[in-house]
Symmetry: C2
Subunit: 174 residues, 2 copies
């Protein structure tokens, strides 16, 4: 493989902003979100931060906790997955950076992946919600074991599609 | 009001355990929950920690963030509410104590309230999910402004019932 071909398999990074993330899903954060007072003014509600979906007669949303081992970068990205029957939201429970790798759909397969480095300094504690059918890499914690509150779909039916790229992509820190 | 009558309006505290909380809803925590490895062993999934409900043709689950001002104890508890069309889950996003006040239903009204002091030392970061139609007091943060990730129902229909006790109850720290 020539130098230029190697370079072309490096995953492109995008700044983690609501605008950049919008084609894939939602940024779940109070910062910059619509809010209003409730409970006689003792609580502020940052309202409806993610488009949740759960399709199918027995479908329902689940709350789970994912505990992710830290991955070492650079790492190879080979397999991507998506959930045709529901959204999947991840909210980080510690102020540590983590990485989100997503891809647009290209005729039923993931196209070139892009990466978002999520750093809590930007939004405070925050999360992301992958919309239904968005190609994504499984959870990538960095540096230490990290917990995430996860809201995704449970119920009957095949809610998982996987795809392996013919050649691996390289994920770097930035 | 005599001394004994005053004493009888003090809210009873229960230790915050899954067993004590079960009549009202779920403790949302990895500690002590069913779990299994996913993502080729890089992630542990603590699975399906809360019974979420959203009733009605246009109903869906929402993710929001509640930012609660700290309340000073002792405080009077007068009003309780419940949501006939959906569950409501709260997950604390900082290691600070907070208070949950709940009541059994007595023929369509809340009975004598009970209090749970939620201290993160016990479960780590954790939350609670009120089952549909469980009487509860609005969010009670303590000591500092606290954020909670909230999963509750959105959609058409009246999902709020409120009740004011004829005499206030007194909520103390423990």
């Amino acid at each position: 493989m020539s130098g230029s071909e190697t370079r072309s398999r490096r995953i492109r990074h995008l700044p983690f902003t609501r605008k950049n993330f919008a084609p894939f899903g939602d940024v779940i954060a109070a910062t910059g979100a619509h809010h209003y007072p409730i409970n006689a003014g003792t609580t502020e509600r940052y309202h409806d931060l993610a488009r949740l979906e759960a399709i199918g007669p027995s479908a329902r949303q689940l709350i789970s906790i994912f505990r992710g081992l830290p991955r070492t970068l650079p790492m190879q990205i080979v397999m991507m997955e998506r959930h045709p029957l529901g959204s999947q939201g991840f909210f980080a429970l510690q102020r540590e950076p983590w990485m989100v790798v997503l891809a647009p759909d290209m005729a039923g397969k993931p196209g070139d992946p892009v990466a978002f480095l999520v750093e809590p300094d930007e939004f405070g504690l925050c999360g992301v919600n992958y919309h239904r059918n968005i190609w994504h890499h499984p959870l990538i914690a960095l540096e230490k074991v990290c917990d995430f509150l996860v809201v995704d779909r449970g119920g009957e039916g095949n809610n998982l599609q996987e795809y392996s790229y013919p050649e691996p992509w390289l994920l770097e820190r930035a």
